[in-house]
């Protein structure tokens, strides 16, 4: 059977061996060669016939993919009993094996353990068919709504930016019509010509329609305004709307100018808002940012390494901004770095150079290290770890030496915890097991003992995590939402986007748990219930409350970056700067998961996270406001 299925695609005859194999399988031992040949010809012909009929069913089923039911129907047409047992699978479940010069396709039948079947939670009930309407076109123009494909696809934007002078492209015609449409169908020709003429200046900005101008104004105002709910909405819009392609240059300029001005004025809050805009732009799956990196990267780097980002460096948590920006930087390196633009190596060089400079201040030093550390464990291994001893000595000088200034001390502290945080996990992988404090001291100097304890902690955690997976999976996967209009894959035509998916109390922002942050005071005892509303219909929420074991760290946990497009939101309910200021021993995490097949594993992780990776609270805050809609490709800033 296996061979037959495969070979129907080619116009050849089945090998006689398969006839023999099949004869043997039904108990006919000695099949003569002649009979085999005759049989195989006959069988091949019949199979082709059936395949042709099956194609008919596929066409009438309005599909592009031939399914097993089509073949069943074709068999039925010939009054042959259909094959049973192949219905459920999406794919045809044959596997291929070869050996001894023989090739074999077989149907893998695993032994099923009944208890396993009983213990696995029931699969979700498939969603019922539902109907949803949207405007595909309004008087000849296709509106740029999420249900419609983006006016210019990411590939087109990429092609345009990488080959700006190559005007005649295969997709040219289509792009022309699409652009023409978005400009109004009456002028597709004029548009096309204009495009031809401005070949030498392909990056000239387009004129925005009135609606687009209004949108731009609204969005930018909301992004830097004081209303947090509006901001969340605006960022959400930037991160998901498909029609922003033409406004991208404006946004890019807005951000770079904004950073320039606000760095001078030390307006930390605005800088943070701007960075969040950058993140939202990067999150938008329909935008290709490469053309605007020359504006965005300097802005981001500024936020990482600038000497001073806020008015009161001793109190404000500008460190969080640096961390966040560093993560953005790492992300854009990952996405846009190519051999021609060399973003990653240039950035690395920049960071390293200023880090090595003795006169560099602690703030900049922190930024450089954070920027490097975010680039990945390889960078940490080659660039940071060799310098641990030197850096340790410098920190020691500040911490244990005569008090120079409070600011320096805080800076040194932060650098120290940053180094410990990033290096521990890398070292845990690098060094063999017995962690000897003395050994660490000789290798890494001043930071050695602390590193040692961090490494040990990292190791136990890894082990713990492995253990916990099973148990937590069960408990967390069960309260899955069972009713929802759209699935993860359906982002395109999913329901009307709820404007603000997360109900964010106005004060719930990214700011640090440290009290005294000027811009966003975070009321201590508020409890936030976070709702993840999947577009349209039902909503579910899961609240997990964990008491943190890490009272020493003011730092909340974050979700490890996920490959999936969905991730649960981990919320810091109220940060407690236990070590430093107010004392609130209990931290509550509200985990809201969106309906997704991928979410179970993530939830698992998140539940054990409080003890694992920790990063600054800014990160928690960031997550807090991310309102995710299914399908919007989201990345955690790792």
């Amino acid at each position: 059977m296996a061979e037959e299925r495969r070979q129907k695609h080619c116009s050849v005859v089945l090998p006689t061996e398969s006839m023999k194999a099949m004869a043997e399988s039904v108990g006919v031992g000695q099949l003569q060669e002649d009979s085999c040949v005759a049989l195989s010809e006959e069988v091949s012909y019949r199979i082709k016939e059936i395949a042709q009929d099956a194609l008919k069913f596929m066409h009438h089923g309005k599909r592009r993919k031939l399914t097993t039911s089509d073949i069943d129907n074709a068999l039925k047409l010939k009054n042959v009993e259909p094959l049973y047992g192949f219905q459920s699978q999406e794919f045809i479940p044959f596997r291929f094996a070869s050996g001894g010069g023989r090739e074999l396709h077989f149907y893998e039948e695993k032994e099923a353990d009944l208890s396993d079947i009983i213990n696995t939670p029931l699969p979700r009930v498939p969603l019922d068919v539902s109907l949803k309407a949207h405007w595909l076109s309004i008087e000849g123009m296709q509106p740029a709504i999420p249900e419609n494909p983006p006016p210019a696809t990411k590939e087109q934007q990429k092609a345009e930016s990488t080959e700006p002078l190559k005007v005649v492209k295969p997709g040219q015609e289509e792009e022309g019509t699409i652009q023409g449409k978005s400009q109004g169908t009456t002028t597709p020709d004029g548009k096309g010509k204009e495009k031809g003429l401005i070949r030498l200046k392909p990056r000239s900005t387009h004129e925005l329609s009135v609606e687009q101008q209004l949108y731009y104004k609204e969005i930018t105002e909301a992004c830097v305004g004081s209303c947090e709910a509006k901001r969340a909405e605006a960022l959400q819009s930037i991160a998901t709307d498909p029609g922003l392609y033409q406004m991208l240059p404006r946004f890019s300029t807005f951000i770079s100018e904004g950073v320039r001005v606000n760095v001078v004025q030390n307006n930390l809050a605005l800088l943070i808002y701007l960075m969040r805009m950058v993140k939202a732009l990067m999150d938008n799956p329909t935008l290709y940012l490469e053309k605007y990196l020359h504006e965005l990267i300097p802005a981001v780097v500024t936020c990482i390494v600038s000497k001073q980002l806020c008015l009161r460096p001793d109190v404000d948590n500008h460190w969080a901004l640096r961390d966040f920006a560093a993560r953005l930087m790492a992300q854009s390196c990952k996405t846009f770095s190519t051999t021609t633009n060399n973003i990653q190596s240039r950035i690395t060089k920049t960071f390293t150079k200023s880090w090595l400079d003795d006169k560099t201040q602690w703030t900049t030093r922190y930024g450089c290290i954070a920027g490097l550390a975010e680039l990945g464990s390889d960078v940490i291994k080659t660039l940071i770890i060799p310098r641990l001893a030197v850096e340790g000595a410098r920190i020691k000088a500040v911490m244990e030496g005569p008090v120079v200034s409070n600011i320096d001390k805080i800076g040194a502290e932060h650098v120290q915890s940053l180094l410990l945080k990033h290096c521990a996990s890398v070292i845990a992988k690098l060094r063999p097991q017995p962690d000897n404090v003395d050994q660490y001291r000789t290798d890494y100097g001043y930071l050695g003992p602390m590193l040692c304890s961090h490494v040990m902690k990292a190791r136990t955690q890894a082990a713990l995590q492995a253990q916990q997976v099973n148990r937590t999976t069960l408990t967390i996967t069960q309260p899955r939402p069972t009713l929802s209009v759209s699935q993860s894959g359906l982002s395109g035509s999913s329901g009307p986007r709820t404007p603000s998916i997360i109900k964010v109390p106005s004060s719930l922002t990214l700011m640090s748990p440290r009290p005294g942050t000027p811009s966003q005071p975070s009321p201590p005892a508020t409890k936030y219930i976070v709702m993840a509303t999947s577009a349209g219909a039902a909503s579910t929420q899961q609240v997990i409350t964990l008491s943190s074991s890490q009272s020493a760290s003011p730092v909340t946990s974050t979700v490890p970056s996920a490959t999936s497009t969905l991730q649960p939101l981990v919320k810091l309910e109220s940060g407690s700067g236990a070590g430093l200021t107010a004392s609130r021993p209990l931290q509550k995490y509200i985990v809201v998961s969106l309906p997704s097949s991928a979410s179970s594993s993530l939830e698992t992780k998140s539940s054990v996270l409080p003890t694992s990776i920790s990063s600054s609270s800014l990160d928690g805050g960031m997550k807090l406001e991310r309102s995710e809609s299914p399908g919007a490709s989201t990345q955690s800033p790792h």
Binding site: S11, E41, E42, S44, Y45, K48, E49, Q52, K56, F57, H59, H60, G61, K62, R63, R64, K65, T67, S69, N73, L77, K78, N79, V80, P126, L127, D128, V129, S130, L131, K132, A133, H134, W135, L136, S137, I138, E139, G140, Q142, E147, N148, P149, E174, T177, I178, K181, T185, T186, V485, S486, Q487, G489, L490, G492, S493, S494
Partner: protein, 792 residues
């Protein structure tokens, strides 16, 4: 020759038409046929016997239908079969009948033979082969034809042009060679003769030489003739190959195929693939496609000059092998005048059996619209006043223009009002008509500068299971047919779907009350959608009745079901197709509906008859889509044989055959004025046809995948097409047809000059994210609704 394509179906039909009591024989036949298809070699003989029935009328079917009329009034439920026995048996019928009798006898159905004979009033000895022959000759003679079976070479040569439709349209051949005596190889009723068409033996090794010879010759003729003569290649190639296969020259056949298959036109690729799989004589028996190819004549249209060239060449070369094939299996339609160009030929070719014969499209078609009944009710005025009160001063005038004037004068091309008996208008229909008129006054005038808005209904979570969609004319309900055998109906207006109360509850209702229609509905059952279960296979076709009370669905299980939208239950299952039914549609006036499926016939039904009123047979492959003409007098069917046929509902005859598509046709649409037909196929092209002239008048290129839906806007200005390639495209239909009317197309030769103006006619392309467009619908105000299932 298309005459030979009716085969089994027309058998059934003949039996059915002639002798109503014998209907069980027809069923027996059908079962036999199925057994033959399914049983493989053992039963193959029976099967081929059926296939090669030599029916003699021009369209291969439906003479029997002449003897029948549609039941006088749709309301009456009198038996449709009652008047059949009185039908006169024409000589042509007699021939067919003899073949039937012979077949029955062969299969030892002597009782049926007896009954049939008695019914038809045939003499006892009619089954004697001799008498048989004379009967055949007699009928041939009536048409002025002499049977010259086995004549000498020169008369053989002349046979080719003469052999043709002797029956209904006997004297249509104007192309018989003047020098030769008009001779026709009238096929013997003896079924075995046609079967052995390939038994003539030539030297298998010479086939290649012959073919190469001809190829060389055609390559060296003048350019103007080359394109025309090249048409011969494909049918010749196929027949030579089949001949080789039939005579068991397997290796020669293979070599022949490999050598020359590459020369064939690319649009035959699909058929060649099927052909390549066929390497043994045994394979030919079960393969219906190839049997059709063998038994039907491939139609070529060639100018006289080119034909003379070919004939002279073959005569000089004494190339009898090829000549025989041309005689036996090709129908060459010769015309006087300029040879056609390559592009002209390519535009028309591509179907399974060549082009349509010119005569096939000569019948007059009444494509005009029926006169709308005058509805001038006081109710109308009241409503208008109400409208005025609301402050909308626009009124009467546009209404008079759009509806009133049109209905006043009778269209000269329209059929008479009662050519087909239509159901009487009910009060509710009149109300609906009034609604329609009112909506029509608010209709947006579309045009290139005023494109319609498109609202897209996406079916979510359909898991690739959505197979058919339909919307009611007033766009209030949408129905979907699914691969899981369900039919679902949604209300797209705020009005929910309600069932009628149960019988017990209905008894309690005050029947005299004014709102009785409202009272019979059960509020408890109100919901946005309803599911209807009943089919046992994927639902491939779906259609609302114009009055929105019924829904039709056709399914893989071979039935067409009628559902009530008041009770949401199945009312009737119309059985008859036995094989998957690919499409069904209600007549625009209700009551009638048409269905077509894998069994290659389309059937016309009336909702109150469990048996079909008409059977339209003639297609060579599955009927993939069926559409009613706006005047309900004609039915168009599209098929996998890549042709479109138009059938007269009254007579059951095929009145138009349109060739030109290069793939199975999946969508059809009549223009609202009834003059034009648009068709879309798997080849991604939309072709436009002038029904009156029977000509292709336009080609719209742009789609890259199968076109599953086509629809004209309410006033016919815009043609919308939806495709598997996830796009909706809008075309300027006005321009496409306007350009045409200034052209005087040479209807005499049937030539067409298509300019390639697809790009100019394309008004818009709207891409969905990942949703194939499988249905389109213009609301009464010209808003375009599209539907499809999201395909993640």
């Amino acid at each position: 020759m298309i005459a030979l394509t009716g085969k089994n179906q027309s058998y059934v039909l003949v039996l059915y038409g002639l002798c109503f009591p014998l209907i069980h024989v027809a069923h027996a036949q059908f079962i036999l046929k199925m057994a033959a298809v399914q049983g493989g070699m053992g039963d193959a003989d029976i099967k081929t016997d059926i296939k090669t029935e030599p029916s003699a009328d021009g369209f291969g079917n439906n003479n029997a239908n002449d003897g029948r009329v549609l039941s006088a009034s749709p309301g009456s439920s009198s038996s449709t079969g009652s008047n059949k026995q009185t039908a006169a048996v024409t000589p042509e019928d007699q021939q067919t009948l003899l073949a039937v009798l012979q077949f029955l006898k062969k299969n030892k159905l002597s009782e049926s033979v007896e009954i049939l004979r008695r019914e038809a009033g045939l003499p006892e000895n009619s089954l004697d082969p001799k008498a048989n022959e004379s009967a055949g000759a007699g009928s041939g003679g009536a048409a002025g034809i002499v049977d010259l079976e086995g004549g000498d070479a020169s008369s053989l040569l002349s046979r080719v042009t003469g052999s043709s439709s002797a029956g209904a349209q006997a004297p249509t051949k104007g192309t018989v060679q003047s020098g030769c005596c008009p001779a026709v190889a009238e096929d013997q009723p003896d079924v075995s003769v046609v079967l052995s068409a390939y038994s003539q033996q030539g030297d298998p090794t010479l086939y290649k030489v012959y073919y190469r010879d001809l190829k060389k010759f055609i390559e060296t003729v003048l350019d103007c003739h080359r394109a025309e003569l090249s048409q011969v290649f494909y049918p010749l190639f196929v027949h030579m190959y089949l001949e080789l296969v039939y005579n068991n020259h397997e290796s020669e056949a293979k070599a022949f195929f490999e050598k020359f298959s590459g020369d064939q036109e690319c649009y035959y690729e699909e058929d060649l693939r099927i052909l390549s799989g066929l390497t043994k004589k045994e394979h030919m028996r079960g393969n219906e496609t190839l049997l059709d190819f063998r038994t039907s004549k491939f139609v070529l249209r060639i100018s006289r000059d080119s034909y003379q060239l070919l004939k002279r060449h073959l005569q000089e070369r004494q190339n009898n092998q090829i000549w025989n094939i041309i005689q036996e299996h090709l129908y060459i339609d010769i015309f006087d005048g300029m040879p056609r160009s390559k592009s002209q030929i390519d535009a028309m070719s591509g179907s399974l059996a060549g082009e349509a014969k010119r005569e096939a499209n000569k019948t007059k078609v009444y494509y005009g619209l029926l006169k709308e009944p005058e509805i001038e009710l006081p109710l109308d005025d009241e409503d208008e006043e109400a409208e005025n009160e609301e402050g909308k001063p626009k009124k009467k005038k546009p209404k008079k223009d759009s509806v009133g004037s049109k209905s006043k004068k009778q269209d000269p091309n329209a059929p008479s009002q009662n050519r087909i008996p239509l159901p009487e208008l009910k009060d509710s229909d009149k109300l609906d008509k009034i609604m329609y008129m009112k909506e029509a006054t608010k209709r947006i005038r579309l045009g290139p500068d005023n494109l319609p808005s498109v609202c897209f209904y996406t079916f979510l979570n359909a898991y690739q299971g959505l197979t058919a969609v339909d919307l009611t004319d007033d766009s209030s309900l949408i129905a979907g047919g699914f691969a899981d055998s369900t039919v679902r109906v949604w209300s797209v207006t705020p009005k929910k779907l309600r069932k009628v109360k149960s019988a017990a509850d209905l008894n309690l209702i005050d029947k005299e009350s004014d709102d009785v229609l409202e009272r019979i509905m059960d509020e408890k059952t109100a919901s946005e959608s309803k599911i209807m279960y009943g089919h046992s296979g994927p639902v491939y076709g779906i259609s609302f009745s114009p009055d929105r009370n019924y829904l039709l669905s056709s399914s893989e299980d071979g039935t067409v079901r009628l559902w009530s939208l008041l009770t949401f239950t199945c009312l009737v299952a119309y059985k008859g197709h036995n094989y998957p039914v690919w499409d069904t549609q209600f007549s625009p006036y209700g009551y009638y509906f048409v269905s077509g499926g894998h069994d290659r016939v389309a059937r016309l039904w009336a909702t109150d008859h469990y048996q079909p009123l008409r059977i339209f047979s003639g297609h060579l492959a599955d009927i993939t889509c069926t559409r009613f003409h706006p005047n309900s007098n004609y039915v168009a069917t599209g098929s996998s044989d890549r042709t479109i046929r138009l059938w007269d509902v009254l007579s059951g005859n095929c009145v138009r055959i349109f060739t030109g598509h290069k793939g199975p046709i999946h969508s059809l649409a009549f223009s609202p004025n009834g003059k034009f037909l648009a068709s879309g196929a798997t080849d991604g092209r939309v072709l436009l046809w002038d029904i009156g002239h029977g000509l292709m008048v336009g080609e719209l290129k742009g789609h890259t995948d199968t076109i599953y839906s086509l629809r004209f806007s309410r006033d016919g200005e815009i043609l919308a097409s939806g495709s598997m390639d996830n796009t909706v495209r809008l075309w300027d239909a006005m321009k496409a047809f306007d350009d045409l009317e200034t052209d005087d197309f040479t209807a005499a030769t049937g030539h067409i000059h298509l300019q390639d103006n697809s790009q100019e006619l394309l008004l818009g392309t709207y891409t969905t994210k990942s949703t194939p467009v499988i249905h389109l619908h213009f609301t009464r105000r010209n808003l375009l609704l599209a539907a499809g299932a999201f395909n993640p």
